[in-house]
Symmetry: C2
Subunit: 755 residues, 2 copies
Amino acid sequence: MCVDWCIREEGVDEKKIEFLGNKMCIGNGYFGYRGTLEEYGKDQLAACTVSEIFDDNGNGWREPVNVPNGLYTWAEYAGEKLTVLDAQAESHVQELYIDTGTHRRETVFAAGDGSRIKVESERFASLSDLHMLVMRCQVSADRDLELRVCTGIDDDIWNINGNHFAETEIQEKDGVDGIVCRTIQDGRSVAVAAKICITAGASVTDKKQDVTVIHASLKKDVPFVMEKYTAICKETDCQDVWESAVCCCMESAERGFEFLKEEQRRLWGERYRRLGIEIKGDEEAQQAVLYSAYLLYSSAPAHTDRVAIPARGLSGQVYKGAMFWDTEIYMLPMFAFCDPAIARNLVMYRVRNLEGAREKAAEYGYRGAFYPWESQENGKDGCTLYNLTDIFTGRKIRTYFRDKQIHISADVAYGLWKYMEVTGDKEILLEGAAEVILECARFFYSYAYYKKDKERFEFLDVTGADEYHERVNNDAYTNYMIRLTAKAALDVLDLLKRAYPDRYEELMAEIDYRDEEEHIRDLYENIYLPEPGAGLVIEQFDGYLKGEDLSLEELYSRIIKPNEYLGSPTGLTVNTQIIKQADVVLLMSLLGDAFTEKVKEKNWEYYEPRTEHGSSLSTCIYALLAAQVGKTEWAYKYLMKAAKIDLTGDYKLYLGDLYIGGTHPAANGGTWMVVVQGFAGLDVKDGGIRIDPHLPDKWEELKFCFGYAGSRYRAAVRRREIEIRCESPESAELKVTCRGKEYLCTPDESLKITY
Amino acid sequence: MCVDWCIREEGVDEKKIEFLGNKMCIGNGYFGYRGTLEEYGKDQLAACTVSEIFDDNGNGWREPVNVPNGLYTWAEYAGEKLTVLDAQAESHVQELYIDTGTHRRETVFAAGDGSRIKVESERFASLSDLHMLVMRCQVSADRDLELRVCTGIDDDIWNINGNHFAETEIQEKDGVDGIVCRTIQDGRSVAVAAKICITAGASVTDKKQDVTVIHASLKKDVPFVMEKYTAICKETDCQDVWESAVCCCMESAERGFEFLKEEQRRLWGERYRRLGIEIKGDEEAQQAVLYSAYLLYSSAPAHTDRVAIPARGLSGQVYKGAMFWDTEIYMLPMFAFCDPAIARNLVMYRVRNLEGAREKAAEYGYRGAFYPWESQENGKDGCTLYNLTDIFTGRKIRTYFRDKQIHISADVAYGLWKYMEVTGDKEILLEGAAEVILECARFFYSYAYYKKDKERFEFLDVTGADEYHERVNNDAYTNYMIRLTAKAALDVLDLLKRAYPDRYEELMAEIDYRDEEEHIRDLYENIYLPEPGAGLVIEQFDGYLKGEDLSLEELYSRIIKPNEYLGSPTGLTVNTQIIKQADVVLLMSLLGDAFTEKVKEKNWEYYEPRTEHGSSLSTCIYALLAAQVGKTEWAYKYLMKAAKIDLTGDYKLYLGDLYIGGTHPAANGGTWMVVVQGFAGLDVKDGGIRIDPHLPDKWEELKFCFGYAGSRYRAAVRRREIEIRCESPESAELKVTCRGKEYLCTPDESLKITY
């Protein structure tokens, strides 16, 4: 396989600093470090964002905490700072090697005296020790000279809502410097410690106000080399954060940079092997797809189920560092099929937070579980009631994301159910997943209204996936997903009764559910599902088709201010048919079997020109359904948009006056979905899998790996031929459906299907 | 009785022109003529607004038509126009005599040569011939001089949305000049004709471009006198509008100004006698209350049931000349108790328009009758979907007045039922009123949602009386009024079954209602009625009490632009507890018996400081409930605000950028309600009346007349004593309840009650 693992940017461009901070981000699920340069400070949005530690300092909303910047480093020569901010760079390159998760920079400065000084660095967020942020810096010159390298832990750090630490305490032990901080709201401790090792080049070291100053005597073309082992330890998994941090630093320093980097290659390599994606004939797509997977993995909690993946990964604090419904709908599928341990963490995160969802339901006067729209580590909804500011009046806008996007509970139940279907891990039901699904169904029953004259349950005053239209009735996506939740709940009850009758009895008593089964069945049987109408289009919600039907161009021509919010309550799209993102199309891409090919095609064709793609959740889903219905060239176009979103920076930076930049894990996950679930057409079906390929013209072959019910498989899809090989010995036979025909894949030999 | 019948304004003030146009308005239910001077044109908003003729010229919305101005007249001396717009007035007075419905002006101009010229006029909208607008003009000088009096029919007229006539045709016959016009939308004809009679002063007449120019030779202190008989004839009641107009002019000219004015005195006198309101000890209140009644009568359709009373009477085109719910709730009571023939017209207007209400219900996917929010002569809803403009962006605001104020159908049913209770006119049921009530109830059943887990019907996504909070759930006013509608429907069915079994059978088949009875009973028995909660307050709608609780001062301090709209979707009140107008308090003032005295008091106290009184429908209702619970000084304060609203001009002129000036018939009707239903405490009760006085301190005695079940009564309420006398011979005994005790009033002797 020929893959270009390197993402490369040349030259210095101040306007790109924020964008590269996202694009060149590194992370290991424990923390993320933005793709900023070592000399950058808070004005350049340098940030090391940690998972699991959130704080509300009263200045806005509760957000994840950025910790002091342990990489803070720059060189000085002849009184001049050799940074891209202060000096002219003769050449500058910034690279991200996704095969090792390593960020690299190389800058040549031309000093006033004609000497050329090269500053290089490499860094990675260690996968073998999640606390470690490891860096190697190198400075060399084209002549003998003396210079200074300054390095420290910068605690004057960027936070959207300002400082989050009530106390910070400077520490030193055994040559390790550090800072221990405690958050304002919950008094959570986090330590950042750094050990500096000078591995080449003569030097003398002293300290100036917490900055270590290294006086280096360079010989022509002989580099000065420094390694810096920065540890980040949080109270959530360390008893004494400072002691742990010191320990981590010492250990890593002992293992050394090269050893740790090899570990990176091995561990990242394992991840890519789990995905196994190879696209023959399209290097650009190959790179973009792997880069997407890289970003998604960078934020994935391989080590814990106390958090899932935030909407902007660990690239910063945007969207409150919160977990949304995209975890289940966009990110879970890749992990469910390829890395079930991480998938389990993602779904167990919801199980852990059932109590918060119950509380939220009760807060609104409902029963059951109403999951938070913006879920943080504590199970509470981080979503505020006034999320946006009207840029015309400067007044806060009352938004209903928190109150009305009830589909979140259906998405959670769907995610859990799908996880079980793919992995076969039914044991999770006994670990709390059953309660989650049952309580979500109970919530919907308590939310439902019955229309007596039409003999059906309706769901009123909700917001669907398309957030531009708030507070609508009978949103198609919502209603179908609720029905699926009710079905899942009934299936859970059946399964428990059959397989775990004691647990069933216990649970019914525990959550007082005995009468509920009848309600859920009533809901399941009588919920109103909007059917395809004229032109086979399913109306997105009651009255949607009565909205003004105008082109996107016409809509855009009405914009008065560049960042004005287009959605509810008074944005330009509100009384129109222009939608923010895939909604009915999302429904059809998820519940494909519920709709005919023709219906899917017609709805894609109706909604596509009316979609503003104002969310990074949109293009991947249009690509997915397009691939599923054989519109492969459309699908390819949108796949590339989705896969390259974080490479090109072609996304919205503001919603009204709210900054929403960062990486896009949902689009990253969606990219995998388009490739594997779209172009290869992989899904679970009737106790096996379905595969239904529609390859883009330029793809000669698509290879990928997947798991099903505990076994691992490797598939190759070519024009007219599919090959599937089981890679787990002692697996059961796998039923494979392709184009309506059934096949069996046995562990011993590869299955070849001609289609 | 000592009454000052004259409303008087001295001096010229350009800024008051618009206000006096409303305040000094005359009208006879057939047309209204604004209180503008004869020399005024469209820039001064001179207008003769006719009822029953509406037009949509495509420039905005359908509105009533202003007809050419038959009073257009001015004098000229020495090349100078003697108008308040062109010349300096030495003195100027404008008067409205409400005992005859006569507008008078007297202006003295000082000419350049030192002569003083006095211009006087008197005008009235004839009650004896509704087509006639009658004027007498008089010009005199303090020396002999020659001047010109110019008079014509001004067809360059004010219309909010511009010209409404596709054709105008100048006519002349037998010395009568005129214009015949045809509306654009429906091609409706209307003629304005004028006959000029010079009754004193030598003169020569000629014509210049449709203006009659009279050359008058004045002798010192000997007036020139001209009478002008203007007829307005509309296609709605004249076969040939031009011939009819000529006829009317001739007849009136023959009868003469003085005769017609005597008729005015007699006919207006009859109206005031029907009310019989005398307030001893408070001349200011006496005048304001009679002035309110004058304005209400001026717009009342005594002659037809094809229209009711528009929201701004006949003072202009504001609010599309449409009839709202205030007809039933605010204006009907005075007529039901004092002038049942007019009351019958008002309610029959709804009966006539049942088909339009059925169509509106069907348009929204409901059954039954959903009455128009803004009802014009054709039964269709004149209310547009975008009623306001956002003054920050210049964009139209989607308002939900038309879609969500479903209480309109309950108000219509309530009005009809109340009319029947007061007048005893059950025959109206056979003339279509039964269908109206039944179809309104059917509409509500089809609108209702059943909450299975709470076993109740709820009404979702409605707007109550308080229009600032749109699209709320379980609005208390709405739900209670719906229950009352359901009850009325069940009572109608019982009554028909008992009294008119044939008609009952016929009707059930006609409107396919046989199964509906069970539905309506279900609704009646299981509708959710918000009960008094903490502090005995009834929450205005679900979640209202969670709104920001701030003072009016604080709210006002947030205003950025003077006319910004405070209501939905994003106005300043939306997420607060500040309401536009009486809502729960309205409910309690109407359905008093459903709530205890304590509950009424507590709700008054809770809502009053949170009410912005941004509608003229508000203060009278606060006064009404305050009077009913014995808060008489509060009640008095608000009564005076309501009664004097059109005298002081203390009302909003703009909603956003929408002009809403004019007279306020709802406040006018509400004034009568406060006096008679509030301070005297008159209401129907258990087949008789209830009287429960709470007089303000300064009122020594309050006298008023009322009708009940076809008989007329005269009441005097004094401190501690009530006297009721029947004025209709052969009446049945009247049961009178006062402070829980029952009395009987017989036709023979006056009933005295000590309380």
